[in-house]
């Protein structure tokens, strides 16, 4: 509710034009100033959000490399080549695979961790801070150190596995093994963060539901399944969406895993879509890289659409 400015002594307008201009000023103030307040954000968004989007689409329709000043218009040729490009579909497969392997176990683990913390514990703050610590580390530092851990000859993980008789695994070389390694890095970073979000949601669930269930003889795990998870469904939806977005943006881990490799390994075994775009931009083939970017946008729209359909079906009833 707006507060009113103190009344000024009214001055009777002497001319019709003066009264008209005062009314106009007042109308402008009421109707137009909201837009003026929003304008800074809109301008920034147009400059840094909308214009690059449109410009990228424009560039993708050309044969555009940075090394020449002549850009030939080729229409949808870049897209046609892209759809037939094995490397593109390989990158898509890798992105989906790394996304699933990093997200699904991570969310299950996060829910379980939140469930463990959702009880009167001493040193609550300590646990929560510890959960969040991996998230504040530098991505590059994490990749470099985990690469050492996953090293083929002298890595810690292979050393531990050797106690159980498992031979040295070349984590970089295999498709599945490299996906597991990269997913481990992502999980290490994000599990705690998501656990805290789930914990916050869980603490909003009314206690008497649990009391009633305990009286009815439900075990802890049953309570988790039948009470907690349905009650925090909107949070789960939110976390799934943010994790999907994050999974499509994975670029630092594959680029630096083991050695610096824009192709995501010699066989492109762990090259994600973002890394594929990076590789093509680094080769200064801007037209093709822009086409890949727009295809990625299409994929994201499809993923968002699927998310929306799934949540609409089950999200109407929140209790």
């Amino acid at each position: 509710m707006a507060t009113r400015a103190p009344d000024r002594p009214t001055v009777v307008p002497r001319h019709r034009s003066e009264r008209f201009s005062r009314q106009l000023a007042h109308r402008l103030d009421v109707k137009a100033s909201p837009y003026a307040y929003v304008m800074p954000f809109l301008l920034v968004f147009c400059a840094f959000g909308l214009f690059p989007l449109v410009y990228t689409a424009w560039v993708s329709l050309h044969d555009w490399t940075l090394l020449s000043d002549v850009h030939k218009f080729v229409g949808l040729d870049n897209f046609a080549f892209l759809l037939g490009d094995d490397y593109f579909w390989n990158a898509t497969f890798n992105t989906v695979s790394i996304g699933l392997v990093s997200t699904v176990p991570q969310l299950l683990l996060a829910i379980w961790l939140a469930h463990l913390l959702n009880r009167p514990l001493r040193a609550q703050t300590l646990f929560r801070v510890t959960l969040l610590l991996p998230n504040v580390t530098s991505v590059v530092a994490v990749v470099v150190i985990f690469s050492q851990l996953f090293g083929r000859d002298y890595g810690l993980i292979n050393w531990v596995l050797s106690w159980f008789g498992v031979g040295a695994i070349d984590w970089n070389a295999g498709t599945a093994s490299s996906h597991v390694a990269i997913s481990t890095m992502i999980m290490w970073r994000w599990t705690g963060y998501n656990a805290l979000i789930f914990l916050a949601a869980m603490q909003a669930v009314p206690r008497d539901l649990y009391e009633a269930a305990t009286i009815d003889g439900a075990s802890g795990f049953t309570q988790l399944r039948k009470i907690t998870i349905p009650m925090i469904k909107p949070t789960i939806v939110f976390v799934v969406i943010t994790s999907t977005i994050g999974a499509m943006q994975v670029v630092a881990e594959p680029l630096l895993f083991g050695t610096y490799s824009p192709t995501g390994g010699p066989d492109r075994q762990y090259q994600t879509l973002s890394l594929f775009i990076y590789e093509n931009f680094a080769k200064l083939d801007f037209g093709y890289a822009s086409a890949i970017s727009w295809m990625m946008f299409v994929f994201i729209v499809i993923a968002a659409g699927i998310n929306y359909l799934l949540t609409r079906r089950s999200g109407g009833n929140l209790t």
Partner: protein, 430 residues
Amino acid sequence: MGKLRPGRIAPMLAAALLAASVAACGGGSDEPAASGQPAEKIKLTVGLFSDFHFAPLYEEFKKTHPNVEIVERRAQFNDHHKNLTTQLATGAGAADVVAVEAGYIATFTPLADKFYDLGQYGLGKRQADYLDWKWSQGLSPDGKLLGLGTDIGGTAMCYRTDLFKAAGLPTNRDEVSKLWPTWEDYARVGQQFMAAKVKNAKWFDGPGENFRAMVDQAPVGFYDEQNNLVAGTNPDVKKAWDLSVQMLQADESAKLAAFSPPWNTGLTKGSFATIVCPSWKTGSIKDAAPTTAGKWDVAAVPGGGGGNQGGTHLMAPKQGKHPKEAAELIDLLTSKDNQLKLFTDAGALPSIPALYDDPAITGFTNPFFNDAPTGKIFTDAAKALKPQHVGPKAGDVLTAFGNALQRVEQGKQQPDAAWQQALQDLDRIK
């Protein structure tokens, strides 16, 4: 702020006046240049892709140019060169002095309008110092001097004497050089080494370096003189490929990518017995594995020793605001005396042939490499060097073949399929 009491104003005013007078005395920028002190402070940025050991040379430059501050920045090798292309295209961000390696120099010399012509700043007089081919590598197509050379990469073969001894091979460097006059002999000696089953040791670090060394020795490499990409049809390239694959299939490779952290560990732990050594790599080995001092030695490279691997030019992009100082810095960093210093310090082989007979070099022995006369070894290699034309996208071509060899090494693809895919990757290189 509270009210200013009169008792407080006077000391504050006095302090302000004092500060102002000190500043006025210390400026002195209106003095005539008769004292030899140039007025403005200048900052020069130097963009490199590794540690060139230039730090003492910057100090030397400061003595004659006290107003110049030098800031060095380093980026990863491929990124450094790609960034330079972007910086030149967008017109901002390039350093005042950039190092461009031999694999990329052909990408930048055609861009004569983006770099200062160092000839206009008096560096044309250095031509008499240089090797002909190194000098012309730094010229634009119409003859402007865009880059001045620092070092070249005469090639030898570094080996671990302790591992050779354990395998029953000779350790004296002359005898070792006689073991492998050709690359086929090198592969055969490798099998001998592997048969001796020295613990945790393979013959060489990774397939890419040998492949590159073999291609470098051929008269024509990936590109011909007209910059056509001939890698797919050049029989020397195919021969290098076949021999590299043969060595991989004999399990002679330690499967380490050069300059990666596992490669550093492998160097320290003796995971491989030999490694192709351009002169600058002796410095890299020393930096990466300091605890292995004295266990290395240097022998001749197989195949007649004609290859040049690497080496750098220093160029001055036109984005820099101080071309005169940049040119003077380039002149100093590449001067005859400093190239000598950089050889003894970092293993950078000079590109000035007059130094090849300098006793300071020919008599130089490297204690890290078992007192090998690296001066004589590399200057002999440099004299025998027949330069090969390097095309504009040689780096990308090498990556395509390197990836293909790694796929064979990791068992992901059969050699013929890997070769075909490499050729397809070459088609994508515009």
